[in-house]
Amino acid sequence: MTESASTQIWLPAGAISFALAVLLGTLALATDLPDGKVRSLARPAIAVLACLYAVYLPLKAQSLTEVPLAELPGAIRLVLLHTHDGAMWAVGMAGALAAAAAMARVGKLSMPTIAACLLPCLLAKAATGHAAELGLTSPFVWLHALHIGAGCGWAGSVCIAWLALRRRWYADAWPEAMTHRLSQFCAACLTIAAMSGIVNLWRLPGFASAGFGPYERWLAAKLIIATCAAGLGAWNRWHGVPLAARGHETARRALRATLAIELALLAAAILLAAILASTAPSM
C-alpha cells in the first residue's frame, strides 16, 4: 500500500490558520489597543481569510481528485457536493463570510459577534484532517477546535502585541495594560493548548509503540518549537513584562525582541500543524 501526500495543501491551510490567529489576537487585545487599530487589523485579516478559503478549495479539489487543470471545475463541484472536505470548507467559508458581514454591518465593532463567526472556521479546521471521521458533533472535534483556537490565539496575540510595540502605537506611553493582558491571555492559551494536545497525543494509534516516521518527526519538531515558545512566554510573563513596566528601556527592547522570536516560533508551529494534518501517523 502507498500513500499520496497532499503536500501543496499545507501552505494555504497554514495561511488560513495564521489569518485566524491575527483575528483572534486582535479580539483578545482589542480593549487595550488604540482607537481605530482594531478595525484596521481585523478588516484586512477577514478579507485575507476569505480569499485564502477561496484559494484553498481548488487546491484541495486537485489534491483529492488528481485531475488535470482542464477538469478542475468538475472536480471542485464533486468535492464541494460529495465529500466531507467540501462540506467542511463550506462551513469554514460561511464563518469567514459571516465575520465579514458582521464587520460591515455593525457600526461599532462587536467582538463577541465576530468571535462567534470564527467558531465555524475553527470547527471546520478541527473536523478536517485526522478527526474527520468523527463529525462536527463529536466532543473530540470540539476539543480539537479549542486546541486550534488556543494555539492561534496565542500566536495572534503575540503578533499583535509585537506589532503594537514595534510600530509604537502608544507613542511614548508604555502599554502596561496591553502587555499584562497579553501575558494573561497567552498563559490561558498555553494551558488549553497543552491539555488538549495531550489528549491528541493519547489518541494517536499505538502512540507508545508507533514507529518514528515522518509524522512523528514533524510532531517532535512541533513539540520542541512549542516548548521553546512556551519558555520565552514564561520568561516574558515573569521577567520581561514586569521589568519593561518599570521603565527600563533595555528591558523594553528585550521584550520586543523576545516577542519577535516567540512569534517566529509560533508561526513555524502553525505551519507544522498544517503539515501534520496532511501526514499519516505511523501505524
Binding site: M1, T83, A132, E133, P205
Partner: protein
C-alpha cells in the same frame, strides 16, 4: 482551596479525555479485509469487497480489476456498501479462468489518498 480546584480540574480533564478516547481512531484508510482474498485460487467471484480501517469518500474511491494481459475487465461502478462507509464494492460479471489483479485507489474522509493492489486466480 486552589489545590482542591486544580485537582477537580485535573479529574474533569482525565474523565473528558477517557470519554474522548473511545471516539475513534485517527483517519487514513488501510486495507483490512478483502474478498476474494489476496493470492487465493477460487471460483469466479460475484463482486470485489474491500474493507478499510476508516470511512471512505465514495465519490473519490475506485476499484479496478485487470486481467493477465493488462486489460481492465471491470465495467461497473465502484460504490460504498450502504451498511458501512468503510466497505467498497465492485460488482463483477462472470470472470473466465485466469489470473487477475485488483487495483484499489481510495480517499478516506480525512482527505488522504491511499492505493494498493493484490492478485487472485479464478479456476
Amino acid at each position: 482551596m486552589t489545590v482542591l480546584r486544580s485537582m477537580r480540574a485535573l479529574r474533569a480533564f482525565v474523565c473528558a479525555a477517557a470519554l474522548l478516547q473511545a471516539g475513534g481512531a485517527w483517519a487514513h484508510a488501510h486495507l483490512q479485509k478483502q474478498a476474494p482474498a489476496a493470492n487465493s485460487l477460487q471460483e469466479a467471484p460475484e463482486q470485489i469487497r474491500l474493507e478499510f480501517s476508516e470511512p471512505l469518500e465514495g465519490a473519490l474511491s475506485r476499484i479496478e480489476v485487470v486481467n493477465a494481459s493488462g486489460a481492465v475487465i471491470s465495467a461497473a461502478r465502484t460504490s460504498l456498501d450502504p451498511a458501512s462507509p468503510k466497505v467498497l464494492l465492485l460488482p463483477l460479471t462472470a470472470l473466465p479462468a485466469g489470473s487477475y489483479t485488483v487495483n484499489w485507489n481510495v480517499v478516506s474522509v480525512d482527505g488522504h489518498r491511499t492505493r494498493g493492489s493484490y492478485r487472485f486466480t479464478v479456476k
